[in-house]
Each structure stands twice: as C-alpha cells, then as structure tokens.
Assembly symmetry: C2
Homo-oligomer: 724 residues x 2
Amino acid sequence: MDVILIAVIVVALATIGFVAHNYYKIKRMDEGTERMSEIAEAIRIGANAFINYEYKIIAIVAAIVAGVLGVLVCWEQAVCFVLGACMSAIAGYIGMKVATYANVRVSNAARTTKKLGETLKVAFRGGSVMGLSVAAFALVGMVIIYVVFGKGLGYMEAEAIQNNATNWLGISYTPFTQCLSGYALGCSFIAMFSRIGGGIYTKAADMGADLVGKTEATIPEDDPRNPATIADNVGDNVGDVAGLGSDLLESFVGSIASAVMLGVFVVLKGANVPFEILDKLFYYPLIFVTIGLVSCVIGVLFLLIKKASENPHKELNFATWLSAGLTVVFGLVATLVIFKDVDAAVMQNMGFTLGAWSPWAAAALGVASGILIGVFAEYYTSYDYNPTRLVAHAAEDGAALTITQGMAIGMKSCMAPLFVLAGTLAIAYYTGGFFGVAMAGVGMLSFVGITVSVDTYGPISDNAGGIAEMSRLEPKVRAITDELDSVGNTTAAIGKGFAIGSAAFATLGLMISYIFSFSGEAITLENVAMNIIDPLTLAGALVGAALPYLFSGMLIDAVAKAAKKMVNEVRRQFKEKPGILTGEEKPDYRTCIEISSHGALQEMRVPAIMSIVFPLASGFLFGPWFVAGVLMGGTLSAIMLAIFTGNAGGTWDNAKKYIETGAIEGSGKGSRAHKSSVVGDTVGDPLKDTVGPSLDILIKIMSTVSLVAVPLFNQFNLISLFIK
Amino acid sequence: MDVILIAVIVVALATIGFVAHNYYKIKRMDEGTERMSEIAEAIRIGANAFINYEYKIIAIVAAIVAGVLGVLVCWEQAVCFVLGACMSAIAGYIGMKVATYANVRVSNAARTTKKLGETLKVAFRGGSVMGLSVAAFALVGMVIIYVVFGKGLGYMEAEAIQNNATNWLGISYTPFTQCLSGYALGCSFIAMFSRIGGGIYTKAADMGADLVGKTEATIPEDDPRNPATIADNVGDNVGDVAGLGSDLLESFVGSIASAVMLGVFVVLKGANVPFEILDKLFYYPLIFVTIGLVSCVIGVLFLLIKKASENPHKELNFATWLSAGLTVVFGLVATLVIFKDVDAAVMQNMGFTLGAWSPWAAAALGVASGILIGVFAEYYTSYDYNPTRLVAHAAEDGAALTITQGMAIGMKSCMAPLFVLAGTLAIAYYTGGFFGVAMAGVGMLSFVGITVSVDTYGPISDNAGGIAEMSRLEPKVRAITDELDSVGNTTAAIGKGFAIGSAAFATLGLMISYIFSFSGEAITLENVAMNIIDPLTLAGALVGAALPYLFSGMLIDAVAKAAKKMVNEVRRQFKEKPGILTGEEKPDYRTCIEISSHGALQEMRVPAIMSIVFPLASGFLFGPWFVAGVLMGGTLSAIMLAIFTGNAGGTWDNAKKYIETGAIEGSGKGSRAHKSSVVGDTVGDPLKDTVGPSLDILIKIMSTVSLVAVPLFNQFNLISLFIK
C-alpha cells in the first residue's frame, strides 16, 4: 500500500508547488502608488511583528508541552506534537504573509483595471494560498507520521497497533494512536493561540477604532486620520487569515485522526472483522481528503483561468460547488475500488449497512451538510433575507431594540444547523457505524482547501478597501473593493457556520475515540457507551456546559480591556495633536499597533491555558468519566453559543451595512437608525470574531488534550481513592 | 401510616387557614387617599381581567389535554392532571389577588407610619400569602392522590404499584406513578402559561412604557402621564407574582413526585431491598416538605410578630435562614426516627452510604446549595459588588460597551452555580443513590414557602412605589418604597437563581424517573444507564440543546412585537392628546392594558404549545431514547441560558440603579452613562423576566410530558420500523 502514501505526498507537494507559484505571482504584481506601498508596508510590518512575537510565545509553551508529553507519555507523541505545531504554524505564516502582499495588489488591480472580475482574481489567488496550504501541509505531516510511526505499514504490522507499549511510569499506551493524537494536539495548539490571540487583536483594534472614530469623532471607517486604522487592518490578517486557517487545519487533522483511530477500533474491538480490513480503514480517510485536495486545486484553477465575470458571489460559489462535487464523484470511484472485494458479512459486522457504498455515503452526507450549514448561516446573516432586514428596521426604534432583535435572530438560528448535524450524525451511523460518523466529519472537511480560500479572500478584500480609503483612491476603486468586501462578509458568515459544523464533527469523532481508548479491553463496538446519568459523568457535563460560557465571558472581557486601552490612546492622540483631525498632522499608527499586539498577547494567556488545564485537572481529580462528561456538556453548550454569537454578530454587522446602502427610507449614514446599528455592530464584533471562533477551538483542544492525556488520568486520579 | 397523611393534611390546611387570615388582614387595611384607591383599582381590574382570560384559555386547552390523557393512557392520570392544574391555579390566583390588595396598602403604610419596618411587614404579609399557598395547596393535592390513588396505602398494597395495568390500546402502565406524573403535568401546565403569558405581558408593558416614556418623552418611571404605566404595574402582578408562584409550585411538585417515583424504583428494581422499605421511601419526601412548610410558617410568623427593624434586607434574610435552618434540624430528627431501624445491609443496597443519615444529608445539601446559588446570583447582580459596578462604569463609554460588559458578566456567572449543582448531584448520589439525588431536589424546595414569600414581596413593593409616584405622594413615602423595592431587586435575582437551580434538580429527578420507567424489566439500580453516544440519543441531545435557544428567540420576538404595539399606542396618545404631557389631559390607561393583555395571550401560544408538542413529536417519530437525548441536551443548554439571561439582565438593571444613586461622579440621571445604562436595562428586561424564567418551565414541562407519554411512544414510534 506504499503506493497510496506516495500518491498522497505527491499531491500534497504538487499543491505546495502550486501555492508557491501563486505566492510569487502575487508578490511580483505591482503595489500601485507610493502612498499605497507605504500603507501596505505598515500593515505588513505590524502583522509580521505580531505573528513573530506570538510564535515565540507559542514556541516556548510548545517546548514545555512537548517535554511533558515526552516524559509522561512517550517520545513519539512529543515528536508528533511538534510536527503538528510546525505544519500548522507554517501554513498560517504563509497564508498571512501572502494576505499582506495581496491586499494592496487587490486595491491596485481595482485602480488599474477598474474591473471587478480581474480584481476578484487577485484577491482569490491570495486567498487560495492559505486555503490550499491548510490541506497540503496537514497532509505532509500525516504522511510523515504514517511512514515513520506507522512503520512498515500494511496489515501485517497492524498487530503493532494492538500491542500496547508501557512507559517508565507503568502507563500503557498504543504508540500509533498516541502519535495521531499528538499530531492533532500540535495543530490544536497553534490554532488556539492564533484564534484567541488573533481574535482579541483584531477586535480590540476594530472596536477601539470604531468607538472613538465613528462614534465620537464621526469620521468614516478606515479613515487615515484614525490612528487605530492600521491596527484594524493588521487585525484582519492575523485574526481572520492566520486564525481561520489554523482553526480549519485543526478540524481537518482532528477529523482524519479520529476516523483513522475509529477505523483501528472497528477492527480491533468489532466482532468478526478480519485484520486485512485495517489496511483499508487506515488509508481510506487519507485517500478521501487527498481526492478533496485535488478537487480543490481544480476548483481554484478553474476560477483563476476562466474568463472573469462581474458577479463575485456566483464565481466563488461555483468554485466551491465544483470542488465539493468533484470530491464526491471521485470519492465514490475510490470508495468502490477500495471496498468492492470486502465480504458482505464483514461489512455487516463493521456496521456498513449499504455495503461498499457505506463510507462514501457518510462522507458525501458530510459534504452536503457542511454546505447546508453554510447556507443557513447565510440566510440568517445576509441582508438579502428577512432576518437581517428585521434587525435593520428595529434600529429605527433605537439601540435597545436592535440588540434585542439581533439576539433573537441569533438564538433562533441555532435550530436549523443543529438539525442538520443531528441528522447527519444519525444517518452516518446507521450507514457506516462509528467509522461512518467519523467519515461524515472527514467529508465535511475534505474540501477545506476551497472553503478556506473563499474565506480568506474576504479579509484580503476588506484590507484592500481599507488601503484604497487610506490612499484616497478614486471612489470607483473603493466601489469595487466594497463590492468584493460585501461578498466577503457573506462568505465569512458561511465560513463560520462551516467552521462550527466541522469543529462539532471533529470533536464528536475525537470524543468517541476518547471513550474507546480508555473504556478498557472488554469494550466492543456493540457495548461502547457513555452513561450520562452516571452522577460523576453528569456532574462533568454540568460543569462542562458552563465552561464555554466562562470562556466566552473571559474573552469578551479581554477584548473590552484591550479595546479600552486603544480608545484611550486614540483619544489621547486626537487631544494632543488636534492637527490629526484636520489632516495637517499624521497620527501615530505604531503605538496603536503595539497596544493591540500587547493586549492580545497578554489577554490570550488565561483563556488559552484554561482550555488546556481544565480537562487535565478534571481528569486527575475526578477521572476519565468526569472528563467525558465535561467534553459532552462543553461541546453541546459551545456549539450553540458559537452559532448564536456568530449569527447574531453577523446579522448586526449586515444590518448596519443594509442601512448604509440607504435601503430604508429616511435612514442612511448618520441617521438615528444608523447610530443604533453601529451599537449593534460594535456589540457583535467580539461575539462573532473572537468568541465564536474561539469556541470551535475550545471544544477541539479539550477533546484532543483529553485524548492525549487519557492514559495518564485513567491510571492516576484522586476520586478513585474514594469511590470504586 | 395513615397518621402521616393526616398530619400532612392538617399542616397544609392549618397553613391555608393562616394564609386566609393574612389575606383578610391585608384586605381590611386602609387604602389611603382617593387617588391611591383609584389607581390600585385600575391595576386590580387589569390584573383580574388578564388572569381570568388567561385561565379561560388554559381551561380549554387543559380540558383537551385531560381528554387525550384519559383516552390514551388512563382516567386516573387525567383526573390527577386536572387536580394539579386546579391546585396551581388556585394558589396563583390567591397570590396575585392579595398582591393587588397589598400594593396600595404598602404605599399607605409608608404614608401613614413613615416607618420602613412597619411598611416592610405589610409587604411581606402580602408576599407570604403567595409563598405559603404554593406549598400548602401543592400538599393538599398530594395527599388527595395518596389517599385516593395510593388506595389502602402501606407496603401490603405496594404490590399494586408493581403490577402494571393495561389500557384498551394495549399500553401497559403503572397507575400510581402515572398519577404522580399526571399531577406534576397539571402543575407544569399552569406554570407554563402563567410564566410565558405573564412574562410577555409584564415586559411588553415595561419595555413599551420605557421606550417612549424614558427615551423619547423623558418622563420618569411610573409617571402618571405615561399611558402604559398602569399596564406596567399590572404586569408585575401577573408575571412576577402569579408566574413565579406557579413556577416554583411546579418545581416543588416535580421534585417530590420524582423522589417518590425513584423511591419506588429503588425498592422494585434494586437488588435485595425488602418491600417494607417502600413505605418509608414513599412517605419520606412528603414528610420532609411538610416539615419545611411548618418551618416556613414559623419563619413568616417570626418576621411578622417581632419588633420591626429598619433593615429590610437583614429581616428577610433572617426569616429565610430561620426557615431553612429549622427545616434541616427538624428534618434530621424525622429522618433518624424513620430510618433508624433499617437493616445496615439494606441501607447499603439502597446506596445509603451514611446509613440512616443518608437521605437527610442529601436533602440538607440541597437546602445549602439552593441558598448558595442564590448568593452567587446576588454577587453577580447586586451593585454592592464589583461585577455590576464594572457594568455601570462601562456605561460611561457608551451603550455598546454596557451591553458587552453585561453579557460578559452574565456568561462568567454560569460557572459557580453549575459547580454547586454538579457537586450537590455527585455527593447526593454517593450519599443516598438516585433517591439521594431526588432528595437533594426536595431539600432545595422544602423551604419554598419562605423563598416565594420573599420573592413576592418584591413586586408588591415595586407596585407600591408606582402607586406612590402616580398618586404624587410626598418624597419620603417614595423613599421608603424605593428602599423596599431595591431590596426586592436583589431578592428577585436570588429567587431567579433559586428557581433555576430547583428547576434543574426537579428536571434531573424527572429525567432519571423517565429513564427508569421505560428501560424495561431487565433494568436494575446498578445498570440503569443513558448512553449519550448512541447516535439517536446524541442526535436528540444536539437538537435538544438548540431548542432552548429557539424558544428564547421566539419569546424575545414575542415581547418585542407586543412592546412595539405598546410603543405605537403611547406615541399615538401623546400625539393626539398633547395635553397628556402637560398634565392637562388624562391618558387612556385601558387601551394599553388591553394591548399588553391581548399581545401576551396571542404571543404565548406558539412557544407554549411547542414545549408540549416537541417532546411528543420527538417520541412518536424517533422513540424514547431520542427523547432522553432531547431532555438531556435541552436541560444542559437551558440551565446555562437561564443563568446567563437572568444574571446579565439583573446586572444591567442594577447598573442603571447604581448610576441613578449618583455613585459615579458626573454621571447621574440623564447623563450619557445613564442613557447607556437604560439601553442595557431595556435589553435585559425580556431576557431576565421573560426568557430566563420560561426556560425553567421549558425543561420541567418537557420532562413531565415525556414522563407522562413514555408508555405511548415506547410502544409506538416511527423509527422502530427502520432500526431494530
């Protein structure tokens, strides 16, 4: 089966080649006027400085974690952890880097070509670097693990997976699954810091800029007179590009890892499943996502090569549908080839009720539900639909009703995606057993390359608009970037829905793997269970359900604190240099960037550390079942809160934009309704861009940490001294 | 054991006598000036009209439900359902009635005595009618069920409990447990309509009055020129008095019923528990709450008789602590008497690890945690502490930061009470098994008489302040009622925490009973389990977790819609009769009352019906395990959301009050900070007074409905046609 790994690595490396091509293609483009170069340079320096500093902190903490893992569990896991962290960091770094080149080139394309279609291509090319890097680098790491730690590979060696090793503490563990979970943890680790740090950075800058700029000084967004405006643009790159990329890379890896682990469990713990099957279940998830990556490259190429139309929304949707469609079609062929010769009775024993089609059906369902969840997010947050228009109309009656109405919509928007998730889960299980559930997650993430490309296009266009505004380019340029940006807002909402859905599936897969991995020898596929009314488990679920709320509250506080500092700085500059507002003096952008940067790095520590320490402390105090409860309660609670905050924030943002289009009679910019909608938008900002995305990470990292540490606290925990 | 039932009924009837005494004592007091009488009369008429109309609707729906129960399950259950509905309706009616008498007499006491202590006594006497009625009427119904449907009583007849009956549909059921769940359902039923209807009424009026009055016309709260002001005062009576009373009556009954049912299961399904024990477990919860009722009567009497001090907060706290303390002490004596002669081995088999002390320890833990949860709620919402002061200071930077900061505090406030709940649950279980868990709930609710008395005192004082304002009484009077009202705000926050905590425990008890009652013959205490990673159960949990959000969103919409109508009416009156604002013309209070009333009755239907239909539809489509998932996911999600909305709303309300005290330099009434805090308060109003309390009901009624209908959908469900 070595040929499979060779194929996977060839695809991954070829994709990285394509990424490099796009990277340099972007870099070689013209930056435009001197003023544009200057602003872009400032954004780039700010972004680089932040990410370098952030990565330094991460490196230190990661070294400690790796050391602890190496000592307490096994060195293989420590190595895989570092590998995961490196892959994620590299992908995030490249993606952010190119975004800071692409932004100004998008403004320049708009300036020189005056064509929407051409400008879109530049932005999308920039986005595709992040998107394709996510899948490609994740796969490179996976192949390394398979080759180095899967050893000889093939079912003959599969017994090695079964045989537990024992470390010097007397803790028994399974090397290969520990490697997978270590790798996933490495990715989680980067994602957590990037998402939380980036999320705090971007919203501290944004809120700080808005609170003084729009509300007190009444100057428009991205106005060069606002000292916080460069920091705001830096924030888009570190939060929405690097943060999002590492978030989805984590989901991608998490879902593949859990599918592979569950594949192992199906063979080892299922009744009457021969060892030969292991090979198939082992490679199948990897093959499926490789097919997905190929499809995404085709989708990206197609959009870049074809004649540019003037409808960016249609173009992006088409690329997404094409990639998803190809993944499903190619996936079917591969699935039938792989599973065609499996005995019908074995299929039944694995829970493959549809025969060879089963794992494909589950994965295809995942693809479909990923798209569907995105569509629901669009419905609730785009101003083309009723919900957001309702919020815009509520703004006519003041800020209080704007907030109230937006909250109501955020709350109501939870049911539809959860229905999809629940349906996908149940059908995937009855189609392909627990492996089917994991494959639904893999399917949902298989076309991550294109979804992240489309998502990253948004902040690049946003930045491009900012640069156009700050460089005082002609209105036509701004009109083009505004149109791209407004599409970007919708894609961002869809992307957020997708991120939550995929995080939920990755987490469910990891959670089931967790339960399998400590439930002991007697467990089989038929009797694996998590008894939620066991008092200790239920207690865990109660506390776990409160955790996302605590975490969210802390994050909002963090943003508010950092934003407050920004507000004071902007006020100080306006006061000390009255010439700034008249355009006679230049504001000091640098101090604002430092405040955001410093605030984010300082404020991210407690929530980040909490999300690692909480499951560990729970495990060592109250044992593995309590942790299982924490994971379950936490996941249920976090999914809701993430959808609520994401959609409420999205609807407030777009309600403001709707009012700004002048669609409501008598309520344009500066009207009472507009002012109310700005309040809504400001409230929504930290919710949708800091809290929501960080919740995705919270549940993933908690389950990964638990999975990594389960051999430890399965053996040592305080409560076992008191209760049998 | 008949002597026990006689004792219970004697206590209940004696309490009702005491309630009647207080009722007439209040009624005989002087109403004060003619203007005061007139306003009180208007409030009374409005409240009566609403509750009469509401009860008419309830009666129709209840008749249908009773009919369905009688036909599909058994006539005994239908009768008990009607009994529960009647008991709850009577208690709510009396409580609300006396509140509408007491309000004006409190203003008058303040006017004539000018003494805080004397005024407090009048308000508290009024509140005690509702508080003691809750426990007394609930117990009367309980005794009737024991006598009529428990038949001969005593363990000899206990076999009747074991023998299932079969109805004409071939559905087997256990008459006595069906009677208990039917009774609980009747109480749930009234609670749901009262809480939702009352919640929408009170906040539609409040928001409507505030949005135009405070924000547009800038007249103070309760100003007689505001046409919505009487409706606002009516709202306090129908929402905060009748709604709260029926809510806690439901928790009270739910927790007793689940304890009795779990007692039955302990004997029937536990290994080696002799039948003689049934008698004890059967009566023990009833005895404990009767002791609680006696203690509450003592607490009430003590406060009414002793020399009045000038510190209302201290007085109320003392009465609560006294009642709770006496319950715990008397409870201990009773427990030891009842369980002293039980064999140690039997104790062990029942899970009573502390011997005869076990059920008492669990109940005492419940008492303590009920108080503790209230204390946390106070910490997060009272302006004596940091969190609310932070919100007040955030208001200096505008409405957006006020909202953001309040949300952060609401979110962070979830962890502490959940920690208490989780700890109580686990310790209660390891002390007294599942029966212990249910007894913790019973303990928490055993002193419901005093908590509801203290809670009801709040809206009475609030109304008294309104009447003083509208009657233009001298400032000293208003100062006294304001002081009482501000204490009332804190007690309301504590009461809300308590309501959620007790609802959570009642629901957990009901949920465990639910699982026991359909898990079949093979189940024993040792192997009862709910496998949350069973895909169908997990799918249920996912959908269930989304339900409270959908429900909350709908309720906010309902309030906003009704408030919007009120706003239009108030604007219309101000516009058509400019004399209202100058005081030359009288506003038309009646139409505003009608708008609130009509809006509430119309808007409550969909959410109320949804909370009944959702578990039923789930059960008939996807079977009992899916429903179990819905209950679990729904409960976890609803508890968080209820605490979040309750505390966020409370902190916004009190941050506004803090600013109004002038404690922040340069920010008094009318300042920018004050305006921002009014936005916060308006956003929080429907959250804390409509959404939060209704969520308590949602989880209770869903579990009660499921418990009642489980024999039906255990037998008939669609999914069983497809999956084994």
